[in-house]
């Protein structure tokens, strides 16, 4: 995936969208949907809720498209919106911590690929602080570069890198046996 090229394509598509060119949705959807869905799913751990939130992100893009400043970082803008939406939803439902029973239920869902191991993800993310979790999920599941994550979280780039490295060390220590 070429991040710079994606950035240019997204910026171009959003400019077209601002001029009410609905055809731009195809490109926006193709470039953003998989990463936003995976990022959302990694945090909410509920397939259908992740789907709803991802849809709502696109509704918000349509609603607030005029607020986007052309030439700025599209991904940072979209993920900022996604992050806020996820935490609003989770706060509303008080589901910041996923229950073990729910996880067992999810493991048997047919949308999980044979390689999926939600318990591993759950264990890995639960040992992190909220900020570390944000940095890790935005990078790994949202596909953001560290400088993009820094923009979304309003943190210095070097800080994001050190948080990420520290988070991975924590996960490795916690799940050393499973690696």
């Amino acid at each position: 995936m070429n991040s710079w090229l994606d950035q240019v394509r997204l910026d171009h598509a959003l400019r077209k969208l601002q001029h009410e060119d609905k055809k731009a949705w195809g490109e926006i959807y193709q470039l953003l949907y998989p990463a936003i869905f995976r990022y959302t799913f990694s945090l909410v751990k509920d397939y259908y809720q992740a789907e709803d939130i991802t849809q709502e992100v696109f509704i918000r893009i349509e609603k607030y498209k005029k607020r986007y400043v052309p030439g700025t970082n599209v991904k940072a803008w979209v993920y900022q919106m996604t992050k806020n939406l996820i935490y609003t939803k989770l706060r509303q439902k008080k589901e910041l911590v996923i229950e073990e029973e729910k996880l067992d239920f999810l493991i048997h869902q047919e949308y999980l690929k044979p390689t999926t191991d939600l318990s591993f993800v759950n264990d890995a993310l639960n040992c992190l602080t909220e900020k570390e979790k944000q940095v890790v999920t935005l990078h790994l599941y949202g596909g953001l570069k560290h400088y993009e994550t820094a923009k979304v979280l309003h943190l210095p780039y070097s800080k994001v890198r050190s948080i990420y490295a520290y988070a991975l060390t924590k996960i490795r220590k916690k799940l050393g046996g499973k690696l």
Binding site: P34, R38, L112, K113, T116, D117, L118, A124, I171, L179
Partner: protein
Amino acid sequence: MNRRLEKKLKKSLDVYLPNEYYKKKDMHFVYLYASIFTLFGLSFFIQPITLYFDSDLYLPVTAMRVDWHEETTVDEHPIWHEDGKTKYQYQQNKDTLTITYQKENPVYLIIQKQELPLSQETKSSNIGGVTVYLAYQSDIYQAIWKQDEYTIIVQMNSNRNQFIQEIKYIMEENLS
């Protein structure tokens, strides 16, 4: 080290995306079509059996035996043969061999060289690939068929299924 952990974390959350998920093949239809195809294939190997029972064809064994008794000399001492629980009685006359035995009900098996007078219009049944003429009268089932130059007559007082099974048994044993 970090690369391996990142790879593992990414792979651990490998789910079908909603748009991929709806495209995912529904295996139920594959199983359904496979079952229909298999049954269709098997249907070529299944030969439907239609049995015609004609009461006019019925030949009372006792009467026949009396007729033969008059025409030929009956063995004074019939041969007995035991096979497990079943006891067979062989009675050899000039052109007729009568085998009588009892499993659940008595079975009369007559093998004779002469032709049976059956008209062309008589409806036949197919049992095990052999053309068999069936008759039914007063709870007695009768089957007649040709084997080589012999005519085989089986009479049995039983139910229909037992009777058909017995005919198949006799055919498989090849009357040896």
